[in-house]
């Protein structure tokens, strides 16, 4: 009995040992990163102040959180990202559906979308600045353009993996086009939509922030560039860390919010574990 108990315990103990090692590796990496940063800052290899101490960065965080202007910048950036993201991803879903449902339309337009998706979107910023000015319009539009492509391509690819049986059932039940979209396509497309949303949010953040950095008078990107121009590196780094946290948090929340259903209505099936 003891021997059987020990045998059952062995994989658990091995998992625990690996889990402990993983934690050790992660802690070591963080400590190394911290130490390297401090050593690089104090080494004199870089210009004075280029790599500030983490204490100075922490103080900059405290200063920022106590400054009402920071919240204005934060609010504007958040507004631009969210509106750009909503517009771009909504259009992406519509276009993706159109390309995926009609095979011929997909064959004609999808390669063009693929090619444009790999183009640096920031090159469109001068046109958007002329069209919408330096206000929030140009930032929102670049964010929308940026997140449109991953969403459209993800949805178009997703439509083609829908189990054809569901489409035939829809036809047999004589469902209208609107009903088919609502009751078959959208539920089946939740996983690719979730992928598109997660990819799109990060890219929309980059689009909005890049336009703020290039030409703006508000937003976190503008504030970071102002800090850079004053050579206030701790504040600039604190703002960059806030931007990264915002992007990470958005990605995490989308992942949590879009609960993925099982792949029951898709062509690919996953066998349950034995």
């Amino acid at each position: 009995m003891v021997a059987v108990g020990q045998m059952n315990d062995a994989p658990r103990r091995r998992r625990l040992r690996i889990s402990n090692s993983v934690t050790t590796y992660r802690v070591v990496a963080l400590v190394l990163l911290f130490a390297l940063w401090e050593i690089a800052g104090a080494s004199g290899l870089f210009f004075r102040g280029v790599i500030p101490s983490t204490v100075l960065i922490a103080q900059a965080f405290v200063r920022l959180f106590g400054d009402p202007a920071f919240y204005t910048h934060f609010g504007i950036t958040l507004f631009e990202i969210v509106v750009g993201f909503v517009i771009g991803s909504s259009l992406g879903v519509v276009v993706g559906l159109a390309l995926g449902i009609n095979r011929y339309t997909g064959e004609v337009f999808e390669p063009m979308l693929n090619y444009l998706a790999s183009t640096p979107k920031v090159v469109f910023l001068p046109i958007l600045l002329i069209l919408f000015g330096i206000g929030v319009g140009s930032k929102i539009s670049l964010g929308a353009i940026s997140c449109f492509f991953p969403m459209a391509l993800s949805v178009a690819a997703g439509v083609r993996t829908i189990n054809p049986m569901f489409l035939r059932v829809g036809q047999s039940l004589n469902l209208s086009f609107g009903h088919r979209i609502r009751n078959i396509y959208i539920p089946a497309l939740l996983p690719p939509i979730a992928t598109g949303l997660r990819l799109g949010f990060g890219i929309a953040t980059v689009g909005c922030l890049m336009s703020e950095i290039k030409l703006s008078n508000h937003g976190l990107g503008y504030a970071a560039m102002q800090a850079y121009n004053r050579f206030d590196i701790p504040t600039m780094l604190a703002l960059l860390l806030i931007i990264f946290t915002l992007a990470g948090l958005g990605n995490y929340l989308i992942g949590r919010f879009v609960r993925l259903p099982g792949p029951t209505n898709r062509r690919t099936t996953v066998l349950p574990p034995r």
């Binding site: 690996i18 090692s21 993983v22 590796y25 992660r26 990496a29 870089f46 210009f47 280029v50 790599i51 011929y104 064959e107 004609v108 337009f109 390669p111 063009m112 693929n114 090619y115 444009l116 790999s118 183009t119 640096p120 979107k121 920031v122 090159v123 469109f124 910023l125 001068p126 046109i127 600045l129 002329i130 069209l131 997660r198 990819l199 990060g202 953040t205 980059v206 922030l209 890049m210 950095i213 290039k214 990107g221 970071a224 560039m225 850079y228 050579f231 590196i233 600039m236 780094l237 960059l240 931007i243 990264f244 992007a247 990470g248 990605n251």
Partner: protein, 253 residues
């Protein structure tokens, strides 16, 4: 009406669509439906491409961007393949850092450019460093994925034949994981191009990005549109060539 006219081949339909789009753009701009100062007609944009070559050294700008992108993607590929190999080889490191690498890949890394700017200064090193940072994570992740998914039976056959560890890597592991690794390299190249042009545009230094920023600042709108078209064409060529290279590599494997 014949079928080829109602539903032409996709490639012809694509060109037809582009032609109609350009015609509508031309007439809308000429008829005053769109401001010619904001959206100049294609007949004004395309002739300026030759001006860009003669007066703005478009070839030099293209070669500079091309060189920076390949330097960044090359460094990213080297570091990424080594990193991916290490994460595959060391299982604990793989379990510890793969999620981190995925988070880094999804992070807006291009926004780190002010940090690189203060470290390296306003020069090509900053641009190449930014491109490398962006191209590294997809190569690491795809290399690890490719090596992890090599069929165990292939490795066992290698062992049976008494291959050394290096021979196993050279003759079994890398050829078997090549398709996935190449997908990572292709993603890395695209990410490097996006970041290189983006940083060039933002810091006003380098090749194509600087050219677009320069023309935009001077309000040479037709030239700016022509330069943007050129960047789009360049990325299309990159995408197309890497796609063809991938197909060729897979068939030659």
């Amino acid at each position: 009406m014949p079928t080829w006219l109602i539903r032409p081949e996709p490639i012809y339909a694509r060109f037809l669509f582009l032609g109609v789009l350009l015609l509508v753009w031309e007439f809308a701009s000429l008829a005053g439906l769109m401001s010619r100062f904001i959206v100049p007609p294609p007949s004004e944009i395309f002739p300026t491409i030759s001006v860009l070559f003669s007066d703005y050294d478009l070839t030099g700008s293209f070669l500079r961007t091309f060189g920076e992108t390949f330097a960044a993607a090359g460094l990213g590929a080297l570091g990424g393949i080594l990193g991916g190999w290490w994460l595959h080889h060391n299982r604990v490191a793989g379990a510890a850092y793969t999620d981190w690498m995925a988070a880094i890949a999804a992070a807006p890394l291009v926004l780190l450019f002010p940090l690189f700017l203060v470290i390296f200064g306003r020069n090509a090193a900053t641009i190449i460093a930014m491109g490398t940072v962006a191209s590294l994570p997809p190569v690491v992740l795809k290399t690890k994925e490719g090596l992890d998914n090599v069929r165990g039976v292939l490795v066992d056959v290698g062992r049976t034949f008494g291959l050394t560890r290096w021979q196993q890597v050279k003759m079994i592991m890398f050829p078997a994981s090549l398709p996935t690794i190449f997908t990572g390299l292709r993603l890395g190249l695209v990410f490097a191009l996006i970041n290189v042009v983006g940083v060039e545009y933002l810091i006003g230094f380098g090749g194509m990005g600087l050219l677009i920023a320069d023309l935009g600042d001077r309000f040479e709108i037709a030239g700016m549109y022509a330069a943007i078209c050129f960047v789009i064409l360049t990325s299309i060529c990159f995408f197309y060539l890497t796609e063809k290279l991938e197909t060729w590599l897979l068939s030659a494997r």
